[in-house]
Symmetry: C2
Amino acid sequence: MGKPTVHDIAKEAGVSLATVDRVLNARPGVRGKTVEKVQKAIGSLGYVRDISAANLARQRQYRFAFLLPEGQSQFLQEIRRAIAEAAVSNIADRSEMRVINVSLQDPLSMMRVQQEILEKNIDGVAIMANETPTVRDMIMRIKQAGRIVVTLVTDQPKSERDHFVGVDNVASGRTAGVLMGRFLGQREGKIAVVVNSTNERDMAERRLGFDAVIARDFPLLATLPSLEGRGEQDLPAEITRACLDRHPDVIGLYCAGAGLRSVTKVLEERSMAGRVTVVGHELTPLSREALQRGVVDVIITQNVGHLIRSAARVLRAKCDGVDIVESQEKIRIEIVIRENLI
Amino acid sequence: MGKPTVHDIAKEAGVSLATVDRVLNARPGVRGKTVEKVQKAIGSLGYVRDISAANLARQRQYRFAFLLPEGQSQFLQEIRRAIAEAAVSNIADRSEMRVINVSLQDPLSMMRVQQEILEKNIDGVAIMANETPTVRDMIMRIKQAGRIVVTLVTDQPKSERDHFVGVDNVASGRTAGVLMGRFLGQREGKIAVVVNSTNERDMAERRLGFDAVIARDFPLLATLPSLEGRGEQDLPAEITRACLDRHPDVIGLYCAGAGLRSVTKVLEERSMAGRVTVVGHELTPLSREALQRGVVDVIITQNVGHLIRSAARVLRAKCDGVDIVESQEKIRIEIVIRENLI
DNA sequence: TCATAAATGATGTGCGTACCTCAAATCAAG
DNA sequence: CTTGATTTGAGGTACGCACATCATTTATGA
């Protein structure tokens, strides 16, 4: 015999199909004793509702939105690509996934987005944004409207998000630190650290983990104060040049955020490529190519495809009130060098 | 209007539902011109088949089997656990997954398994086995019976398997080599290599990649001939001891196959733990613990959960004649150190 | 005990697709 | 133009479930 169906439950519990249906869908008009009978039957038969059949009958359409910050960073582009890919694959079965870009600096933009989510009956949102009170408030209001919220890449731990899809950035920074330290061997020198902005949570956490490891395990190495690229075009390159001028004994470069392009450019223009150990984050076409050329030694990354698929699956599961497969949704901190490049 | 359905296509193409159905399911008896008409309608309406409805209607039950070698290695246990987990999760939706243990040395056992697969109407098999003519023959016969075959962990490139789920072991060995070399810094010395058996394809490939990198990039390091553990209890420890006695200048230990337990034991009994750089393969409870204790420096691994889920998805896709999402099924070579341990 | 309310049963329809049968239309070849 | 084969149409049933309606049974309280 195949899987038990509602008919089997009805037979087992000695009630009618209609009653089983009432119990399953928590409709009123059933005595407590009867509910128990049915639930016992469900338990003993090991019935599990066929969600796809249920959704088919229910005509359920899921509407999910990915809230992404505006910008054209390589990482963001990868994210967008992965979303587009997931949208057509079977993960998106019966669910529509749209991308909403939001300017995180602009409260008006945020309000508009929030409106859109509530008006357009979006069932769940995956939010990728820096941790700010504004974002936290938005999450709170979306949750109050009964929607599902998962945070993506950057967590908002103090918000009431249902789930976080991403990695532990402190551990990520620690990983970078260990690899930097060990790759540098017993050499003595300084490590320059480039971040986007010191008040972005990711950057701060990575830096924290990185510094802790270097301080603890590699006494011959010293990390310099953060160089802030602020997401601008030429700034990262300039400050990197300035830093290298000031500190000729820089033997390592940790690129905790964007700006890897500029940094590698500077190294190459000074023919220091390969002589300075470079550790960066996020695998993109650019960083991949830099790895291949040997300008960058290690990239710490998270699989973007996995990230998006996981977010989609979690949103679905939360909407259905179904358990998620923990191990499948755990995003790993990946270490990529030239040799294990996909 | 919602998503287009088969009815919409029929209307658009000016044909009947039955014809649309024939085209969609590639049934015979439709003129080429008609097929085109229908496909044009599908394209212009942007129709996508509702997979859950299709599966519901099809009432298709998939029967898959995982052929695993007998044995109780940690890696195998992890594989079994992952299969059990996948069997109950939604990946196994409408599909039943069983494990068949087979003694690869025993041709009779092989024959019996082959019989079982053919008789019990198994739709697809995932095979994990060393590359031998016997296995290749078995795959051929299973394929001839019209079943799907994917190879797992170890490929059988010369067979007619439909797909390989696993990593490139040469690249895996190269990765191990680079990490070994860089972790050892500028030191000079020897590297002992422990394998299960030199005529297992995986081992040979890993060793190949490892040696190539060491030879090319790390002239101060020399790799010793393989120590064969042969899957026995105490042998790996013994030969490791012997090797360390003979070569006091061993500064690195590459464990390409099983036997990590014995190897670490020997290092610890000689208080060499932490002083010899150890690189191993496959993350298991044991190797994880060794990483945490600092006895092992790096583990090169593949995510077992991903491996099994991927195999299940591929089997499904091949049975349905559906395309697979390449990027999702690509198994990555993962580098694990203490800091990025899940 | 009877009226009334509450609980339950019986039954039907529809979701989007697969698959089957049989009749009708169309086609190719003689 | 006829014959036989091929192609197409029409329609039904099923999958597992949700949801609705109405009839019937059972419990509750006066």
